[in-house]
């Protein structure tokens, strides 16, 4: 059988172009392996060959995610790869986001297996672990050798379509995707053993971690609130009168974003609620009761806050309908970050 054709993605640093000062390096493609690619190639022996390497600066990628993903995809495709490897990115956040994003896109769009590697706390892990296999690595490039030792065999398995074992066996971060398999012992026996361990205070591993309770560590406090840009987000369904974007009254399938530049008060003539889950009379009379634009404007003028963000975000539904809310919030969060918002006041009914 012919060798597996591999394309490798790395950033400007591992591409030996430069450090942070070169983070705006534009994407380029080179034949063969570059930097850490050499160690991968050695590990593949004659089973696979790195036919091309794509390099992009971390900042450049993250500032142009959509356009860059497209451009990189085209570059990668010209090598006609059977397998795609990105990174490893260790604990480098922007590099991790780039690796995850490209690997996931390659897998989806080109339909070939893709793999990346990161430190478990890299923000790229949470964003992409369900979309692409991410090998768990150490937090710095000192763990390169160890990372390649885990990544190379898993990459080959993926390329050959061999069954992938458990996260513990293969060294990847659990994907959150539930996959059936046969255990050695039946469920009741596993239950009895788990109970005995729990009773003795020994460590045990639940087979299904409860999902609703993944906590996010509190973000650090705002040092100087009088300088902060604060955005308003609400699940109380406040919308311009007439609900121009047709936000559903319940189980909303979308959110909307409205410009409040120059608006000091939400009046009954201009704003109302689209929420179908509570008595709308009070919010329709004065939407500031749900979305306190009036007070935040005053606070802005009084210098109590830096300023109120130009847009507010709104949807309906309440706290527990996690499914959609999660989707909206991820999109909202992305915009808030790129708009330089420092803090958010989220109001719910």
């Amino acid at each position: 059988m012919s060798k597996i054709r591999v394309v490798h993605y790395i950033n400007q640093f591992f591409g030996q172009i430069g450090g942070e000062e070169k983070a705006d390096h534009k994407p380029e493609a080179r034949e063969g392996f570059v930097g850490p690619g050499m160690a991968f190639q050695a590990s593949f022996k004659d089973k696979a060959e790195i036919v091309g390497t794509v390099i992009c600066g971390d900042s450049y990628f993250n500032e142009n995610i959509e356009a860059e993903t497209e451009e990189l995809l085209t570059m990668i495709e010209t090598f006609k790869p059977d397998l795609f490897i990105a990174g490893p990115a260790f604990n480098a956040g922007r590099y991790g986001m780039a690796c995850g994003s490209i690997a996931a896109t390659v897998k989806e769009k080109l339909g070939i297996p893709a793999l990346t590697g990161m430190y478990v706390e890299n923000p790229g892990v949470d964003s992409f672990k369900s979309k692409v296999h991410i090998v768990s690595t150490k937090d710095s490039a000192a763990g390169m050798r160890d990372a390649i030792k885990k990544m190379a065999p898993l990459a080959l398995k993926l390329a050959l379509g061999e069954p992938i074992g458990s996260p513990e066996e293969e060294g990847y971060i659990p994907t959150g995707i539930r996959v059936n398999f046969f255990e050695e012992k039946r469920g009741s026996e596993r239950a009895v053993e788990m109970l005995l361990k729990k009773l003795k205070g020994e460590e045990f591993t639940t087979e299904y971690p409860m999902p609703d309770f993944d906590r996010v560590d509190p973000s650090p406090a705002i040092k100087d609130i009088t300088k902060a840009t604060i955005a308003l987000v609400t699940s109380g369904g406040i919308v311009p009168k007439g609900n121009p974007d047709r936000i559903e009254s319940s189980s909303a399938s979308k959110y909307a974003k409205y410009d409040i530049e120059g608006i000091d008060d939400l009046t009954a003539e201009e704003y109302e609620t689209a929420h179908g889950g509570y008595d709308p009379v009070y919010a329709n009379k004065d939407a500031d009761r749900v979305l306190p634009v009036d007070v935040l404007r005053e606070f802005g003028k009084e210098g109590k806050i830096g300023k109120l963000h130009r847009y507010f975000y709104t949807t309906t539904g309440n706290g527990t309908s996690v499914a959609n809310a999660k989707k909206f919030a991820a999109a909202i969060a992305k915009e808030l970050v790129s708009d330089g918002v420092d803090a958010v006041i989220l109001t719910s009914t």
């Binding site: 906590r215 560590d217 008595d279 004065d286 606070f299 706290g319 527990t320 969060a333 719910s348």
Partner: protein, 76 residues
Amino acid sequence: MVKEIERAGIPVVHICTVVPISQTVGANRIVPAIAIPHPLGDPSQPADKEKEIRRKLIDKALQALSTEISEQTVFE
């Protein structure tokens, strides 16, 4: 909703009426609101009094955003 925004590194204060729900969804900074149909208002009060109530709540929210916390905290 709260979690995703906070995950992106932006501190969020959740002003909401039903504190247990806020706790369940994983908000870290929580300020209890007035009532479901008017979380930041009280229609039974005259307009200026109502505004004052809202200002106090926002003050509390800003204070929450300025406070370092290590776990879920309700700012009563």
